[in-house]
Subunit: 239 residues, 2 copies
DNA sequence: CGAGTACTTGACTGTGGTCAAAGCCAGTGG
DNA sequence: CCACTGGCTTTGACCACAGTCAAGTACTCG
């Protein structure tokens, strides 16, 4: 059940067998959500965190005028809201973009973990720091990258993140977002995203159709995105 | 020396006297930096984190074309790079925006803290999660807010953050940034920031001159910024 | 087969970018 | 005390990238 999480953690550090068992004991109730369901509301008090097992979710914030900004995308193996353990409530909403399955981890078990498993605690802390690193890279996209580079960068990031958990092939990956939802990630309108997708297709870099990203020229795509994956901390270092 | 840090933490949770002592023992070497000095380079291996004692610093990333995005501003009491404890190196640069004083905290002492002081560990974890919450709010600004709302929001955020550590009055605060640097925070050009600042002044909302922000109509400013400080987690809750 | 949603495209608009010149001010040196 | 310098700010004219609006097309799913 925690396979994807283990793959994600083992890509970065050693996990002892006893620690794997301790991780297994964190798991509580399992929940399924339908697509487009808002799973966590901004501000609501939380006493558990959720680990995504299947599907894709996102974090988002709304403005009064209807503008919505997606601030992160979650793939299997990601915690949706591990940060709610210390924050107690969230500053954003969390929504299922597809049908999803999650497992709940009660905060009291996380608290016990911080008392008994300092190494796992550091790994979990790392995991929230990784979220923050992705937020920073998105800030760079939103603030300074051109429209085409933003979309290209998003596709590159997801390719790399899905590869870690074995959910992307060299050729591409499933990505069941609408163009409007992509627009909400990259700070553009859906109309403009559509135009950018056409350009990316015509320049033979990447194709997005029918909920699937097909890499046509990954190196070229990474070049125009200025994608440098260091911010994903993909190498192994003891934490 | 750790006064500002204590004020920041005590705004959110109880700190026992013994914990205060433990915090004091984290402190190592003190360093001074001149304005405009890049203090930490992206990618450089780190074995200490830095707590800002005086001055203002920022995190930033560059693009090849010279575009720079500032992803966070630090005020006294903030750790510049507490996340480097688990990440081991940073995905961004850190620069002193004014003359600054910091105190170094060796990672080995932080590691010992995670073994011996679970409550402080959770507080430090909280502190990096707070950084991420600010990143998310900036993503919303960069992706969806208008130019004037972005600048207004930045001024509101700093007012609130500086108040916690006692470095802002009702009337405003010192903010020794150039207009170009503000532009690098909000994803605009310095020319446009200049136009926006004029608007804010003419609408009697806020004035920025000579490295000082003067609040003229704080409620009005917060309204056009859609500033809702929940993301700063200013209330006290046990962590 | 019809309804609803998502995608596509074109015409037009506007916010914010670019380029350039001038003004301002603090610091430095004659 | 003044001239010079360099960085920052201010303004204007013009431009372009991306937004808006609207209509039409393509798919899915009941």
């Amino acid at each position: 059940m925690i396979d994807y999480l283990l793959r994600k953690l083992r890509a970065r550090d050693e996990i002892a067998d006893l620690e794997e068992l301790a991780l297994g004991r964190l798991a509580g109730e399992i929940r399924d959500y339908p697509a487009d369901k808002t799973v966590i509301q901004e501000g609501e008090p939380l006493d558990f965190s959720s680990l995504l097992l299947e599907g894709m979710m996102c974090r988002y914030k709304d403005l009064r005028d209807g503008g919505r900004q997606i601030s992160a995308i979650h793939v299997p193996g990601d915690f949706l809201d591990l940060h709610s353990f210390t924050l107690k409530r969230l500053d954003h909403n969390v929504m299922a973009m597809t049908r999803c399955k999650v497992v709940l981890v009660p905060h009291e078990r996380l608290k016990a973990m911080t008392e008994e498993e300092p190494h796992l605690t550091r790994l979990f802390w790392f995991s929230t720091n990784l979220d923050a690193a992705m937020h920073r890279e998105w800030e760079l996209s939103l603030g300074r990258r051109s429209a085409i580079a933003r979309v290209a960068h998003l596709f590159c990031e997801l390719q790399a993140r899905l590869e870690i958990v074995g959910l992307a092939e060299e050729a591409g990956y499933d990505f069941k977002f609408t163009q409007t939802e992509i627009a909400e990630c990259v700070g553009l309108t859906s109309v403009h995203v559509n135009r950018v997708l056409r350009q990316l297709r015509e320049r033979r870099l990447v194709e997005f159709r029918g909920g699937r990203v097909t890499m046509l020229d990954r190196a070229g795509l990474e070049r125009i995105a200025e994608f440098r994956p260091a911010y994903l901390y993909l190498d192994r270092r003891p934490i």
